[in-house]
Assembly symmetry: C2
Homo-oligomer: 429 residues x 2
C-alpha cells in the first residue's frame, strides 16, 4: 500500500476567470464554484482508494477565488494590512477543503478537512510569504490510520502565536510537497489541465511532446523561465527532501511527467525542453572604464530600485574600456535606462543604449553540460533561419540566447526540431 | 471611557438576497460584497473612537454569504457532514472580519481581525449548534490595551480538540453578548436596518413606534413571536449575565432601544408591544375521556413526530369528557391532524377538528400581570371590531389570543391603538 499526496489546483476545482473578462465589479461579485468539478475530483480519489492506496489531499482555492478576495480587499484599501490579507485569503482554501470533503462524502468516502494550522503547519512570522518552519504530523497520521482521507488547505499556516499566515505564490504546491516530505509519501501528485511537462509550448511548436521524466534541476530551470506548471519554491523543496513529484492531468488517467533526482539513464540524454520568455529588455552601458567596482556600482544602483536582473554579459577589456550588457524585465526597461544614464556620467562611461523588444530562448537539460553539440546545433539552427543572437549565457544545464522577439516563435520551432533527437524519452521505471 | 461591543449583522455588511430572486445557480454564484457598506460601518466605528470609547467589533457573514455556502454544500451532497458544514460556514464570518479590519485601516484606525478560536471561544463538541463553554479574554484584552480595535468573527468557536464549530441560528448575536459579558463591556450594541424595537409591525399599524426601553423578558416574548430582531438565545444569555443591549440603526445616529433588567419605572408601565404570528393552525380533539395520561398520550405522540406545540388549552371536565385544543405551526397542520385522528380512536375520543387559517395576537409587557384592565381593553377592542377570539392563553408578561388570520391586521391596529396610552415611553436614564 502506497501513501499518495494528491494536490488539486484552482483550475481542478473551479473556473479561472480570464483577466480581460473579469475586471471590476465582475471580479468582486463572481463566484467560481462548479459542483461538477468537485464531483470529478472526488471520483478520481475514489479510484485511487479502490486500488488500496492511502491518500492525503491538498487543495488550492477554487478557480480565481484568491484573486476575487484580493479585489475586495483592494476595493476597500489600496494598501491593505498584510495580516488582514492573510486572514482573508486563507478562507479561499478553507472553503475548497470543506467542499472537497463534502464531495468525497457524497462518493461514499470518509474524509475530514483540515486547515493548515489544524495540521500543525507552523510558519515564520511573515505575512503574505511565510516559510514553513515545522509540521506536526500527529493529527494527519491519526486520520490516515483511521482510514479517513485528510483534505488539507494549501497555502496557509500559522505562527507560533496562532496568527494566520499564507505562503505566497505557489504556496499550495509547497504545502503539498512539505506534507509529502514529513509523511514520507511515495509520491506527490499534481493534478493539472495539462498532460505533464512538455518539451516546449505546443501553441508555438506543434512537435512539442510530453516528457516522461525530468530532473528537479531541469524543472527549476523551466519553472524559472515561467513554464508555470510548478512554482520553483516547491521544486526546490522537493529536491531538498527527495520527494518524487508527478505532474499529471485531471482529464484522463494516463501518467504525466515524473520529477525526480537525476539518475544514470538521464545523464546520457541531452535536453528536456526549449523554454522562452518574451518580456525581455536588453541594456548596454558602453565604454565603462575597466576599474574595480564599476560593475558593483551598476548593479547596486539597480538593486536599490528593486529591479531584477537576469543575464549579465561582460567581455574582457581590451582598451581599458568594457561594454557591460544585461537584461531586465520589459516592465522595468524605462526606469533602468533612466538610472543607467545618470550613472554613466558618474562612472565615466561613454553611453547607454537599450532595446526592449527582446526575447530569451533557452535549451534546458542535464545533457547541456556534457554535449557540446547542443550549442552548435542550436546556433546553427538559428543562423540557418537568419536569426541574430544578441547575447549568450550558459549554466550547468541551460543555454540561453537573447534574440529579437519578432523572431522568437520561429526560433522555438527550429531549435526544438533541430534538437528533437536529443529530447529525453525514457519511460518511467 | 466606556467599552462598547458593536455587533454588525449581515445586512450591515452586504445584501441579503430575496429568496425569490436568488434560487439555484444565482445562489451558487452571487456574492454579497459591497465596499460602501464596509466603509459606512468603518465611519461609524471612527465616530465612536473619537468619543474616546474602546470598542470591540463582532461581525456576521456579509449579506447572504452563509446561505450561499450552504447552497454549495447541498449541491454536492443532500446531507453534508455537519463537521464539514461548520468548516465551510465559518469562512463567511472570517471574510467579513478581515474586510472590516481592512475598511477600518482605510479610515486610519488600527484594527486586527480574530476568528472565534483565536480569541479562545471554546464550545461543546456539537457541530452546527454548539454552545459556548468558555472564553479566554487574554488576547482581546491585550489588543484593547494596545489601542487596537479587535474585529471578532461571530457564530464560530472551536472544541478543546481544535475542531471548528458554529453556534447555530443567532450565533453571531450570542458571540457578541458572550464577549460583552466576559469583557464586562458597558453595552453591547446591535446595528440594524431598523430604528430599534417597535411596539408592533409598522407595515400593519401606522401608529407603531419605537420603544426606548424594554426588559429582557419582554424581549424574549417578542423574539419568540418572531419579532426577528434578536435571537432569543442571545437575549437569554444577556439576561443571565446582565449585559445591557442596545438595538440601534446603522442608518442614523439616534438612540435605538435598550434591552435591560426590569426596574421600578418599568413596573409601572404596562405593555411593550403587540406581536403576532400568522402561521398558526388550531387542532381540537373533542370528547377526550377524563383519565390520567390522555393529555400525555396526545403530546407524546406529537413530540415523537418532532412537531412543536405552542398554546395548549384544556377546560375542566364537566361530563367526564374534555375538549383539548392546541396550536401548531401551519406547516405541521396536515401531519398533526393525521396523527391525532389515529390517536383519537385509541384513546376513545369522539373526533378531531382543525383550522389552519388562524393567527396569534399577543400583548407583551411587564404590566400584563398587574394590570387586569389590559386584558379587558384587549378583549373589548376585538369584540368592538367583530373579531372572534378562539383561544386565550396567558403568561406572566404575555396575553395571547388565537383569531382568524383574515382579521389579524385589523386586530393588530385596534389592540395597539386601544392600549397605546399604556405603551412604555420612558427615556433612557
Amino acid at each position: 500500500m502506497s501513501l499518495i499526496v494528491m494536490k488539486f489546483g484552482g483550475d481542478a476545482l473551479g473556473d479561472k476567470g480570464k483577466g480581460e473578462n473579469r475586471g471590476g465589479q465582475e471580479m468582486l461579485r463572481g463566484a467560481s464554484f462548479h459542483e461538477e468539478k468537485f464531483r470529478h475530483m472526488a471520483r478520481i480519489v475514489a479510484e485511487r482508494r479502490k486500488r488500496g492506496d492511502s491518500v492525503v489531499i491538498i487543495t488550492s482555492a477554487m478557480g480565481d477565488a484568491t484573486n476575487r478576495l484580493l479585489a475586495m480587499a483592494r476595493a476597500l484599501d489600496a494598501n491593505p494590512p498584510a495580516r488582514e490579507l492573510d486572514m482573508l485569503m486563507s478562507t479561499g482554501e478553507q472553503q475548497a477543503i470543506a467542499l472537497m470533503a463534502i464531495a468525497l462524502h457524497a462518493e461514499g468516502l470518509t474524509a475530514a478537512s483540515f486547515t493548515g494550522p489544524q495540521v500543525g503547519i507552523i510558519t515564520e512570522s511573515v505575512f503574505g510569504k511565510a516559510r514553513i518552519r515545522n509540521v506536526d504530523t500527529a493529527r494527519l497520521e491519526r486520520a490516515i490510520a483511521d482510514g479517513v482521507i485528510p483534505v488539507v488547505a494549501g497555502f496557509q499556516g500559522a505562527t507560533v502565536d496562532n496568527e494566520f499566515t499564507t505562503l505566497g505564490r505557489g504556496g499550495s504546491d509547497i504545502t503539498a510537497v512539505a506534507l509529502a516530505a514529513v509523511l514520507k509519501a511515495d509520491v506527490c501528485e499534481f493534478y493539472k489541465d495539462v498532460d505533464g511537462i512538455l518539451t516546449t509550448d505546443p501553441r508555438i511548436c506543434p512537435n512539442a511532446r510530453k516528457l516522461d521524466r525530468i530532473t528537479y534541476d531541469e524543472m527549476l530551470e523551466l519553472a524559472a523561465m515561467g513554464a508555470g506548471i510548478l512554482h520553483s519554491r516547491s521544486v526546490e523543496f522537493a529536491k531538498n527532501y527527495q520527494v518524487a513529484l508527478h505532474v499529471r492531468s485531471f482529464l484522463h488517467n494516463q501518467p504525466g511527467t515524473f520529477v525526480v533526482e537525476e539518475d544514470k539513464d538521464m545523464e546520457d540524454t541531452v535536453i528536456s525542453g526549449v523554454a522562452f520568455n518574451r518580456e525581455e529588455a536588453k541594456i548596454t552601458i558602453a565604454g565603462v572604464p575597466d576599474r574595480p567596482g564599476t560593475a558593483a556600482a551598476i548593479f547596486d544602483r539597480i538593486a536599490m530600485a528593486r529591479i531584477m536582473v537576469d543575464m549579465i554579459i561582460q567581455n574582457a577589456a581590451s582598451d581599458g574600456k568594457n561594454d557591460i550588457s544585461f537584461t531586465v524585465s520589459r516592465a522595468d526597461f524605462a526606469e533602468t535606462i533612466r538610472i543607467m544614464k545618470a550613472l554613466a556620467e558618474e562612472i565615466g562611461a561613454s553611453g547607454v543604449r537599450g532595446d526592449n523588444t527582446m526575447a530569451k530562448l533557452s535549451v534546458v537539460g542535464t545533457g547541456v553540460r556534457s554535449h557540446s553539440d547542443v550549442a552548435a546545433k542550436m546556433f546553427r539552427a538559428l543562423a540557418d533561419s537568419g536569426i541574430n543572437i544578441q547575447m549568450i549565457a550558459t549554466s550547468e544545464i541551460k543555454l540561453s540566447c537573447i534574440i529579437a522577439e519578432s523572431q522568437l516563435e520561429n526560433a522555438v520551432r527550429v531549435v526544438h526540431d533541430a534538437l528533437e533527437e536529443r529530447v529525453r524519452d525514457v519511460r518511467p521505471a
